[in-house]
Amino acid sequence: MTTEHRYVGGNHPRPDAYDKVTGEAQYVHDMALPGMLHARIRTSPHASARIVSIDVSRAAALPGVYVVLTGAELDHQLGLYMADKRILARSVVRYQGDPVVAVAAQTEAIAAHACDLVQVEYEPLVPVLDPEAAISEGAPLVHPDLHTYSHMKGVFFPVPHSNIAHHQKIRKGDVERGFAESDCVFDNSFDNPPVQHVPLETHAVIARALTRGRMDVITSAQSPFTVRNILAHTFGVPHNNVRVRIPCVGGGFGGKAGIHLEPLAYMLSSRAGGRPVKIVATREEEFNTLPSRQGLKTRIKTGVTREGKLVAIKVQYLWDAGAHADYGVNVGRAAATAGAGPYSVPHCHVDSLVVYTNKVFGTAFRGFGHLEVMWGVERNLDIIAHQLRIDPHEMRQRNFLRPGDTTITGEVFTENHGRPDLCLEQVAGAIGYATRPGRGQTPTRVPAGKVRGYGIASLHKAPAMPVFTSCSCVIHFNEDASVRVLISGVDYGQGTYTALAGIAAQELSIPVEKVLVTFDQDTGTQPYDWQTVASRFAFMGGNAVIQAARDCLDQLRQTAAQVLHSPVDDLVCDNETIYVRHNPHQRLSYRQLALGYTFDDGNSIGGPIIGRGRYIAQGLTHLDPQTGQGKAAINWTYGAHGVVLEVDTETGDIEVVHIASSFDAGKVLHAGMCRTQVEGGVMQGLGSSLIEGFKFDEQGRLLNPSFVDYKIPTVKDMPRQMSQFFVETPQLDGPHGARGIGEHPMIAVPSAIGNALFDALGIQFHQLPLTPERVYLTIKKHRTDK
């Protein structure tokens, strides 16, 4: 066999980079169709209010306006897991930024002007803004009709006549007995604000309503088939009536995982007699109207032995879902299954409540609740380690899941699951954690000047997905024996197509330059995939690509066997040729077979090679509604971060000196893609750690809906050093042993920062983000108190 065409683990260029550096790449933002109208929306200025009246007459009379649409005209109610959302608000508004009126006009400027001319009279209501208040007796209900909403049964459990959209329970062992048997019990609480994804391309869609209930939707979204599915359900049309196309997407991070502006664009087009309608969210709408990451309040009670062994953990996770459940209910479910960290905990009791409030709603965000949960879990562990005078690294090593242990949902941890212990060892080694200055001696008073601190944190996450999650792949051979790989996950920057191209090329034994993973997605032509979320695309898509490639090879062999008069089993596919194993000069090139073989006399056999592959999640079960026990995960990815930082005690400013990150990737499918995913994810995690978070006033109005007031990291915020490490414990059912790592780089970055900050200052921080203001004021308070 040739050693050529080995790409798995390699570093070939990412094919889409060429179009992106020249400006040729087309995003929805860049697109226009003939006769296209532009739409703008008018949103609610109140967090909660009754709509008394809407007068659209002046807007409708404006020259160039085609459609003015209000919620009163739209009966549809939709949602991913819970049908709790209207296309435009009807009778009430549930958050500041809730879309109330939409206008489609000849130009965006006319549409915006028309929106301003609409007269909306509101009767403001008292909003419920805090999730704790929202679950208290007599709280105003965000959705009084919750008990009537259709939702995914058996998976989500809304509590009727309350603000609880989902209550996820995990019960393992006997937590009260666990506390009784513990030497020490600790109570801690933690807080995460809502955070925005901030893709550089805001949400954008062009929709065209066609006759006979058909529609063509071009959208900046992560999951073409989910958009199609929900459009078909919402408008009651067959799936074949809905065509969803997705060109280049300018970042997603979970914010484009579901369905957002597509139904509105379709309705506007429908009212405009089928003229295409484009909606591009303004940056302010991206913050204020489109979803964010949920806020989280964590209360965690922990029982441990004197040696630091975890005995019992009882947690309440209170998710601030905002006005709609969207992915939030599933975040509350999935993060709960990881809710005690990658540790063996004999007795565990988790209540994860996803709570409606009158704020902009939450959705999936890279890490799917795990950054938030790990902020509590990993800070909590360091606080306890400090109290017990045990080194935080040692404390974690004593508690990591080991083969034979069971997770809190009853899954048996095996040696193939991965190595959280090794990941932590690597990052601790990289930052010199064991030899850090003043190791274990926490400052008794807050030091002055610039102070250095060292922190570590572990993490884990599994893909959150329905038990039947699947995907498929088709590989077509071209005339020149190059191939087109059709697969429907979306590569919105994470580089999956590059990794999949390598897998296909290696499996087929052809140059990677001969593999085209089709970039533009189209439900009209591409094979099915569930969604591009959860770090499951490389895993499931990789398996589907391998199967499709092997199907191609089988077809090549079938035809070659007839030409070469050889048993199929004796044929070897290698370096774009097929030969008889024991007689290598008896050979055919792929090219001779790609579209069928033609004998000298003209007779032809075979036909175009088309391989099919598919993959469906293996062995998942529904979780028991009362105990949360079951198989929730196809795989777990473990990891860790180690941080060295310097905090200026006079300004509260934190500079990250070094952040080392390690993940058990199973197999690094592509060196460059894995490394750059980690670099980008770590920086996004630093944003959540240090600067990002929504601020609301007491009326529930978002105070920082722009880049002026909501900063994301710039190049100047880079750590002085970032290093990346990978452990490779093969995932037995993963492609080449790989498991996902797209989200994980972001998780537990805040935890490591918080732990390093304690190491530096001797102050325990419980709330994110760790802005200079928060850090400085906390230091000041400690100094005054002492």
Binding site: V21, T22, Y27, E201, V657, F707
Partner: protein, 179 residues
């Protein structure tokens, strides 16, 4: 609607002459009139840098400049970066270093760097950082972008180039790091 005013300018070496509405931004002019959609609108208020193009040698947030203000100007956009169908060295460096993920910030980022290299072929690390400090990227975490820029500035290949960062496998570092 807004009054039309005559302008003439040169974009990527090609002259253009015509009238534009007085309130049309340069970004919209490039995207909608000239179909040069490489420059993107990420925020519309000059905070993200996705709309950066080079105007008379300076990197400009074109969402904040009116087309009429560019009367008589010489413009370079990302579409002028490649020549004869071949990527520029800078573009190739972005490809080689995986400095592109979603790609939405990339054209603006490239224009900021190109403007820097035009006025200073041997920028220091600090000058590079300053040049792209106004270009937000949410995907890459900037380190691959910095690697690409370092490798693209030809003068930077001199062994004692100021601010040359140590190269470690799987690691990026900036000066000031104490290892």
């Amino acid at each position: 609607m807004s009054r039309e005013l005559p302008i003439q300018l040169t974009v990527n070496g090609t002259p253009w002459e015509g009238t534009v509405p007085a309130d049309l931004t340069l970004l919209r002019f490039l995207r909608e009139r000239l179909a040069l959609t490489g420059a993107k609108e990420g925020c519309g208020i000059g905070e993200c840098g996705a709309c950066t193009v080079i105007v008379n040698g300076r990197p400009i947030n074109t969402c904040l400049m009116l087309a009429v203000e560019a009367d008589g100007a010489v413009l370079q956009t990302v579409e002028g970066e490649a020549s004869d169908g071949q990527l520029s060295g800078l573009q190739q460096a972005f490809v080689d270093h995986h400095a592109v993920q979603c790609g939405f910030c990339t054209p603006g980022m490239l224009m900021s760097v190109r403007a820097l290299l035009q006025r200073n072929p041997s920028p220091t690390e600090e000058e590079i950082v300053e040049a792209i400090a106004g270009n937000l990227c949410r995907c890459t975490g900037y380190s691959a972008i910095l690697s690409a820029i370092r490798s693209a500035g030809p003068a930077r290949e001199a062994p004692d180039a100021p601010g040359e960062a140590p190269r470690l496998a799987g690691s990026v570092a900036r000066p000031g790091d104490e290892r």
